[in-house]
């Protein structure tokens, strides 16, 4: 019984003696106001998604004539097809699929490696009291707040120096670097919540550092791995600035390509194609979000509670 009950129970006078008085009414004016507030804000939050979807299903003719929120008269996937395979970014007209596949190529190794490195770091920091660990952890927690602009240029020079330049490998390493604080924190907190006896028992059984990690800890950390995957998939997919700087012209991720498609106007602007491209770019995070339900919230909460 939280605030709810307090708000909804009115107090009709108790009648003395006679038959039972009626139960309190559930839908009070306050409840109506509450739902009105929820509905109006929901409309604000849903409007952009709705406009995106309906516009992407219309023809340019219909867009020019009709209202932006009107549902399409004759829904067509033409704009989606064009956005996918033949929309233009500056010179090339290969559609956003190029960016899509680039993003996939970046995403898969980045998610895997960043979680592997982050979980191992978190594990080493939670069970093994090694000198320097505290400095490392504190530095990570501070860096989680610092804007990328501080690091970007030196990193560009470092990658040029070691011969990687701008490439898939570079962007994967960069995502691992900037994912490290959150991933480490996530796993460190999780491992710290496990009973230390588990770890001690494994050591007495003679398991080595890496055996404990791969055989005992990681299998137990499945829920955290799910949370980490959700965080990293959405985070890396949605990244713009790092992909722009480190991926290289050939490997620009989908977000950058989307921005280029929308920015390059040749002749009349095709809003339906732009919206379809936007929808395509937003699709994966939306699927992850609606598919994962409460896990997404858990991920936010876990990533949010820094330190």
């Amino acid at each position: 019984m939280s605030g709810a009950a307090a708000m909804q129970t009115m107090s009709p006078p108790g009648d003395a003696g006679g038959p039972r008085s009626a139960r309190p009414v559930r839908m009070t004016p306050a409840r109506w106001g509450l739902y009105a507030f929820l509905a109006i804000t929901a409309a604000f939050f849903l409007l952009p998604l709705w406009v995106m979807v309906v516009t992407s299903l219309k023809t340019m003719n219909e867009i020019r004539l009709g209202a932006i929120i009107a549902p399409p008269l004759a829904p067509t996937l033409e704009a989606w097809a064009k956005a996918w395979s033949s929309a233009c970014t500056g010179l090339a007209c290969d559609g956003i699929r190029v960016g899509f596949w680039n993003s996939v190529k970046i995403l898969v190794p980045s998610v895997f490696i960043s979680i592997l490195v982050g979980s191992m770091t978190g594990y080493a920091l939670s069970f093994w009291r090694v000198p320097g660990a505290n400095v490392l952890f504190t530095a990570m927690m501070i860096v989680a707040f610092i804007p990328y602009q501080v690091f970007i240029y030196p990193l560009v020079r470092v990658f040029a120096f070691i011969g990687l330049g701008q490439s898939i490998a570079t962007i994967v390493i960069v995502h691992t670097i900037f994912g490290l604080p959150t991933m480490t924190l996530l796993f460190r907190n999780y491992f710290s919540s496990l009973p230390i006896e588990l770890f001690k028992a494994a050591r007495i059984d003679g398991a080595s550092f890496y055996q404990i990690f791969f055989r005992i800890m990681m299998p137990m950390a499945t829920p955290m791995i799910v949370v980490a995957v959700i965080l990293q998939v959405t985070g890396i997919w949605n990244d713009f600035i790092l992909g722009l700087v480190f991926a290289g012209r050939e490997n620009l991720p989908m977000t950058v390509q989307l921005n280029n498609i929308v920015a390059s106007v040749q002749g009349e602007r095709e809003y339906n194609v732009d919206m379809a491209a936007t929808m395509l770019t937003a699709l994966l995070p939306l699927v992850v979000y609606f598919g994962s339900g409460r896990w997404f919230v858990r991920g936010i909460a876990a990533g949010a509670v820094k330190g």
Partner: protein, 361 residues
């Protein structure tokens, strides 16, 4: 301060969805009576208390407090105050503010608030702590503040939901005495939920033993202990638990089990004694053993001896295989494997019929 209210619960039912938690429950509590609700976890004690407080809606029935039908009144208008197991103090307010806040919101005059807070604080030895935040108090002090917050409301009925169960044994004993003293001083009606039998037996004027949303027995502590109305009450109250021996009542004179007989002459049957299958109950401390045992003693085989300090607990087995625990003087020289003569005084026995509920005969 002598506000006294009677509480009258008439046919109250509480349902959560299609789970019936309380069913047509009736309980009439006299002004300034101290009632303890006792029962296993999940039997509906908190539910009943919350229904009295108005914190949840009853599905059926009426609730009368101080002669008024308060079934649909807000908690604040019912003339009740409540103390919670988790203290439920407002964490960001000082002790003083915790106690005065409700009165301020109700628009009580400043001077009156001051007076009441000072009085409650003095009664509960909280005066030096008034400016502290709850986080800076010990568990016992927090619970005192929670009681203080209830006291300043100056109502006729105080409700306690396991107020002491988060405290350690010693503090619990101290606060128990304090609550008893408060009750004597205020003369208010108190309804008190607990799991702790000692609390129940020491505090209560009457105990209501509940099971499955039904009050099984409502009686003074002594009667609950000596004359439980059914097997559930008998087994739930008392530790170690009452011994039960299955057998038959014969002609109202003997209880026959295995190849021994226990005389029932002197047992106060509730009705006319009838022969038939039954269960005999006896508390460990009522068993007479060794040289105390009477002439027709039974030979019990001692299986284990547990010295408890003040006395000794003997676990034994009767000839028919029924187990029997005996509370005996500490200096008894009894060992495992000994044979111990035992007898059962008829006036300390309980006999239950063989219905599933096991009503007292």
């Amino acid at each position: 301060m002598s506000l006294q209210s009677e509480v009258d619960i008439r046919d109250v039912s509480v349902r959560f969805g299609n789970v019936q938690v309380l069913e047509k429950l009736n309980l009439k509590i006299a002004p300034s009576e101290f009632i303890v609700l006792l029962g296993p976890s999940g039997c509906g004690k908190s539910t009943l208390l919350n229904a009295i407080a108005g914190l949840l809606d009853v599905s059926d029935g009426q609730m009368w407090i101080g002669g008024r039908n308060v079934t649909w009144e807000e908690p604040k208008d019912r003339g009740i105050a409540m103390v919670f197991q988790s203290y439920a103090l407002y964490p960001r307010m000082s002790v003083k503010k915790n106690m005065s806040f409700g009165l301020e919101v109700a628009g009580t005059p400043r001077a009156e608030i001051e007076a009441r807070v000072a009085e409650a604080a003095q009664m509960l030895k909280l005066t030096p702590l008034l400016e502290r935040k709850p986080a800076a108090l010990s568990g016992g002090q927090r619970q005192r503040v929670a009681i203080g917050r209830a006291l300043v409301r100056k109502v006729g009925v105080y409700l306690f939901d396991e107020p002491l169960s988060n405290l350690d044994a010693q503090l619990r004993a101290e606060l128990r005495v304090e609550i008893k003293r408060l009750h004597a001083r205020l003369g208010a009606t108190m309804i008190y939920v607990t799991h702790d039998q000692i609390e129940a037996l020491t505090l209560a004027d009457r105990i209501a033993v509940m099971q499955g949303g039904v009050i099984q027995q409502l009686a003074a502590p002594k009667d609950i202990y000596r004359r439980p109305v059914n097997r559930f009450v008998a087994s739930f109250v008392g530790s170690p638990a009452m011994n039960f021996i299955a057998g038959r009542v014969e002609a109202g004179l003997f209880f026959h089990a295995g190849d021994y007989r226990i005389p029932l002459a002197g047992y106060a049957f509730a009705g006319a004694p009838a022969a038939g299958a039954a269960t005999l109950g006896i508390r460990p401390e009522h068993v007479l053993a060794g040289h105390e045992a009477g002439p027709d003693a039974i030979a019990a085989k001692v299986e284990m001896v547990e010295p408890m300090g003040a006395d000794t607990l003997i676990w034994s087995r009767l000839p028919d295989g029924a187990s029997l625990s005996i509370r005996h003087a500490a200096d008894a020289a009894v060992r495992e494997g000994d044979t111990l003569p035992v007898s059962f005084p008829a006036d300390a026995l309980s006999v239950f019929d063989d219905t599933p509920a096991g009503a007292r005969l």
